[in-house]
Each structure stands twice: as C-alpha cells, then as structure tokens.
C-alpha cells in the first residue's frame, strides 16, 4: 500500500526537478491556450457577422458585452437529422448574403463537404427548441420551434472597465463583428466595428 502511494513515488524525483516541471507545465498550459487562440486570429478565414440584440438585462455583465448573431439560431433540417441534443458539438456551414454577412446554410453532426465560398464553423448546441431571429433581429416564436440555439465562442467581448456602457447603449444593428474561423472550425473575434468603422481590433498577441 505504502509503496503505491502517489507521494512516495513522486518523492523519488529530486525536488528541484519537480519544482521546475511544475512551473514549466503551468506556464505551458497558459501559453498553449494563448497560441491556440492566436493561431485562429493569424490564419483563420474572416467572416462578417451582424450583431442582433440580446436580452438587455444580460447585455453588460461584469467586464464584458454579450453578443448574439443571426447564426446563433439555426434551422435544423428535418430530413435525415435525428434530434440534436443539448451540449452536442455541431458544424454549421456558412454562406454569404447580398451584403457579405455570414448566414447559416446548414447544420450537421459531422464535418460537411465544403464547397466554394463555404466556411464551416464549429459550435455547441445550447437549446434545441429555440425561437428564430428574423432579419430585423427580432425574436420570432411563431411557426415550428425546431431551431437550435448554438454558441460559437464569439458571444462575449471583454472591454476595458467603464467602456462596456458605450457599446451597451449603441444600437445593436450598428455593431458588426469580424471573426476568424480556423480550418478546423474554431472561431475567434478579430474586430468589432460600429457603423462599419473599426472600434476595437485584436492582434494575435
């Protein structure tokens, strides 16, 4: 029993090596997280996203602004797609509308066959009977409630303390987000624009 004790096994390694390994591993976890995000920002395909209003009470929470997009609710196709579960990872194919903003063209469980001008973004289902958001950004609960609410990791935007109110009071229709989507579908916010003018830009580092 004592021979198999974790502390006895670890004690065979000199303390100096253990301390070095601890500091190194903790640092590496942080740096790996940074690099994973920076890689998306450096090499990802850019998509433009229109922002739509979310519940105003939730808009500014602590140090960040909560954002939602038309692609946050996606119509699940009826054919050949058994019901999606909450928490499930899905891939959404994005096309472009006339103004160049991204719009969802389909949602699948597996990586879809990408065509010309199609960007695939990975997301997680947070609700499977959501109401739709129409072109004006209003919530429309009429009709079938078979839409999925999907998060892509683009839903929060941290702003310096005190500056959140400014974005909060801005009309959501004027806010636009440019995101980078990596070849594996991970997305990160790259720029935030108001009336088409960049307000915040995110360098990789």
């Amino acid at each position: 029993m004592r021979a198999l004790s974790a502390d006895n096994l670890v004690a065979k390694v000199p303390l100096v090596w253990r301390a070095l390994a601890t500091a190194l591993l903790l640092g590496l976890v942080l740096l790996a997280l940074v690099e994973q995000r920076a890689r998306i920002l450096r090499g990802g395909t850019e998509i433009r996203l229109r922002s739509v209003p979310v519940d105003p009470r939730d808009l500014f929470r602590g140090g960040y602004v909560i954002l939602a997009y038309p692609i946050s609710t996606v119509e699940a196709e009826a054919a050949g797609q058994p019901g999606f579960q909450r928490g499930e990872r899905v891939y959404v194919s994005l096309g472009r509308d006339e103004q160049g903003f991204a719009k969802a063209t389909g949602v699948t469980r597996d990586w879809p066959k990408a065509g010309e001008d199609i960007v695939v973004i990975a997301g997680r289902v947070t609700a499977n009977s959501a109401c739709a958001t129409n072109a004006n950004g209003d919530v429309d609960c009429s009709g079938r409630r078979n839409r999925l609410r999907i998060t892509y990791g683009l839903e929060s935007y941290f702003v310096p303390q005190g500056e959140g109110k400014a974005i909060e009071t801005t009309d959501k229709a004027r806010i636009e987000v440019v995101a980078a989507v990596s070849s594996s579908g991970e997305a990160a916010i790259k720029r935030l624009l108001i009336d088409g003018k960049p307000v915040y830009a995110e360098p990789p580092y």
Binding site: L30, R37, G63, Y64
Partner: protein, 429 residues
C-alpha cells in the same frame, strides 16, 4: 489523525495518569514530544503565509478583472507567468528550509495565480464565459502542482474545480451522469490516500457525494421526485457504514471523512420523510427508480459487512440496526400503507428507533458524532411529531407513552445485552 483537540485532551489526561501512577513522568514527556513532533512544529507562520498568499492571488485576480489597458496584454501575461514561477521557486526554498507547510502555501498561491492567468487569457481572446472549461484547466493545473509539489492546498483547489467542471457540464447537457468526472477524480483520490490533511479528505468525500447526487440525471431534479429522498437515504447509509467501518478496521483515513456527511444526510432525509408522511397531501405511495435500487444494492452489503466484520460488535451492531431501520422507511412508502394510520406509526417508530440506535452506537463506541447525530434526529423527530401529530394529540400522547416505556425497558436490559454481545476481555494481571 492528530487534531488540536486531541492534544488538549492529552494535556489534561497525562498529569492525571501520572498522579494515578499508571504512567511515569518520563513516559508522559516522551508522549508529549512524540505528539508535538507529529503536529509538525510551529504552524503559525505557515497559516499566516497561506492567508497572505491568498490575498496576493486575490489581488492578481482583481487586477485581471479590472481589464486595465495601460499595460499591454503580453506584459500582463508575462507578469502572471513570472508570478507563477516566483511562487514555485519560493515553495522550493521553503521546502528546502524544512517548512513543508509554508511550501504548500506558496504552491497554493501559485495555482490560484495560474487560475487568474486563465481568466486573463480568456479576456485577451474574448473566450466565452465557458466556466466549466475554465474549471477543467484549473483542475488540471491544481493536480499537476498537487502531484509534483505534494501540495494539499493545490489538491483542495483541484477537487473544488473538478466538481465545478463536472457540475457545469452536467447542467449543460441536461442528461444523466457525467462520466468524465472520474478521469480527474480518480488521480485526486489516489493522491488523497497518501495525505493526512483533513480538508483534503472531506473534499474528496464531498466531491464523490456531489457526483453521486447528480448521477440520476438533471430531469429528476427538474420535476422533483420523492424517489430522490430514498436515493439520498441509501447514499447516506452507505457513507455512514463506510465511515464507521473505516474507523473500526483502521481503513485509509480518507474514508472516515464519510461519517459526518453521511450522518448529516441521514438526519436530513429521515426528518423530511417524517414531515412528509404526516402531511395530508404529501403522504402518497412512492416508487423506486433504477438509481434507488442501485444505491440500495450498494448500501445493504456495506451495512452487512459492518455488522459482520467490525472488530467492536457492541458498536457496530446497534449502528447497523439503526441504518437498517432507516433503509426500511422508503420501502414502507413503496408498499403504499403510508396513507393509513399504521404506516404513519411504523415510519415514526422506525425514525425514533434509528435515532436511538445511533445514540447507542455512539455512546458504546465513544464516537461523539454518532451521539450528536442520533440526538438531533431524535429531538427534531419529536418536535415534528408534536407539530404534525399522528391522529389527534391524544393519540400522539399515547404514541409517546408507548415509545418512552419501550425505551425504558430497553435501557434496563441494555447492560446485560451488551455484556453478552461482547464480553470485556479479562485483564491478564
């Protein structure tokens, strides 16, 4: 397990034993020195160091949360990395100087700064508020530090983070048990077996309890089912039996931490069942679901092992009997007789019997927690019975009279009973 209260008790007893002539003054001194050595020297600097470390980590966290833009993000990240390295380096120095507790405090501070660093990276790259994902990384960092630096503080942080991660994922998925929990919990459990830190022991036991509580799935909590009470009762019985067995047979001391939490659950669930059966609307026949059967299938054998294999039968048998009485309560709900007067009388009697058995086991075994839990269960049960009576107050008075008379009868026979169960060993001299 040497606690402060044990040392105080010893300080009071040693002079008495010396005056009685059972112990020489030299032996008493040797015992004092041995206890002082196991207590690990002076603790005050380490305690103050831990508090100071916590404050520094909190300062880093608040600094990150402020999102102050005057310092470039990369410089902030470098500061966090430097702070982690400094904490670990300081821990190394303290460990070398022979202050393991101080080193533990420094490592704990380092892990907390690592958590603040994760928040900073989340802020830099606008990571969504995926707090279970963040908790998972904190748990990983905590486990790394707990293994390599043999830190109890880091292990405690890791255990809390594991629960937050697992609970968050469970809540998100709205489905059954989150099995991923064990990937991190089992290593933490393994580490805790070689630790003698009571906080770590309690956290290990509570983490398992939280997973077990969530295992039946989100849906059952959403539309509350009384079967959950039976499930909770079986788990509480399992914890009490396991804790008592660990105390009796000298199993790893982490298991003894099951006892207080099991007792707490037992008292809460039994009193809730009693309130429920006396309520006109809530006294309905219940039903068991799969997890209730599973919990019973685990609890009953452990109670049987406690009764069969305990070293001190005078303590184990009353306890096992009390636990068996408790397990019968939900079974009565399943039979459906709970709506009749007979069912109410039987449930009330079972709860009082279980309470009495706990007090008996606690007094015989010298485990104050059992006596306390049994007394609280007994006292609250009587208050509930007076508040929501079985039948009229006159019927209730008759019930108490019979129950009191039965207890007095048992008390008069108890001495002989215990003497027969486990005759005291004849002293050699």
């Amino acid at each position: 397990m040497l606690t402060g209260s044990y040392r105080k008790r010893l300080e009071a007893d040693l002079p008495r034993w010396v005056t009685e002539g059972w112990l020489t003054a030299e032996n008493a001194g040797a015992i004092r020195r041995s206890v002082a050595r196991e207590q690990g020297g002076i603790r005050l600097p380490a305690v103050l160091g831990l508090l100071g470390g916590l404050l520094i980590a909190a300062s880093v966290a608040a600094f990150v949360a402020a999102g102050w833009e005057d310092i470039p993000r990369l410089v902030k990240l470098a500061m966090i990395l430097a702070a982690i390295v400094a904490s670990i380096a300081y821990a190394f120095r303290l460990e070398r100087q022979g202050s393991p507790r101080g080193a533990d405090a420094a490592v704990t501070c380092g892990v907390l700064i690592f958590g603040a660093g994760l928040a900073l990276v989340g802020q830099m790259y606008h990571l969504p508020a995926d707090w279970p994902g963040g908790a998972l990384l904190v748990a990983l960092g905590g486990l790394i530090a707990a293994v390599l630096m043999r830190s109890n503080g880091a292990l405690a942080i890791a255990l809390i983070a594991i629960c937050a991660w697992s609970g968050g994922r469970w809540e998100e998925a709205r489905s059954g048990a989150h099995l991923g929990f064990f990937i991190l919990y089992l290593p933490a459990l393994w580490l805790s077996l070689s630790r003698d830190n009571r906080l770590v022991h309690h956290l290990v036991v509570l983490a398992a309890a939280s997973w077990l509580a969530m295992a039946p799935g989100y849906g059952l909590f959403d539309r509350f089912d009384y079967g959950l009470l039976a499930y909770g009762l079986a788990l509480a019985v399992f914890y009490v039996a396991l804790g008592a067995l660990a105390l009796d047979r000298g199993l790893p001391s982490v298991l003894t931490a099951c006892l207080p939490w099991g007792l707490l659950g037992l008292v809460l669930v039994l009193n809730t069942e009693l309130i429920r059966i006396l309520d006109r609307d809530e006294a309905r026949a219940g039903h068991a679901f799969r997890f209730v059967f599973l919990a019973y299938a685990v609890a009953i054998p452990v109670v049987a092992v406690l009764a069969g294999f305990a070293r001190e039968r005078r303590f184990a048998w009353p306890l096992a009997a009390g636990l068996a009485f408790a397990l019968l309560v939900p079974a009565l709900f399943w039979t459906g007789i709970v709506t009749a007067m007979a069912g109410k009388i039987i449930v009330a009697s079972l709860v009082l019997l279980a309470a009495t058995a706990l007090v008996v086991a606690g007094s015989v075994g010298g485990i104050r927690r059992l006596v306390l839990a049994g007394s609280v269960l007994f006292g609250v049960a009587i208050l509930i019975l007076l508040w929501q009576t079985i039948g009229t107050l006159l019927d209730q008075s008759l019930f108490f009279l019979v129950a009191g008379a039965a207890l007095l009868a048992i008390a008069s026979g108890a001495r002989r009973l215990f003497a027969r169960l486990n005759p005291p060993e004849k002293e050699a001299a």
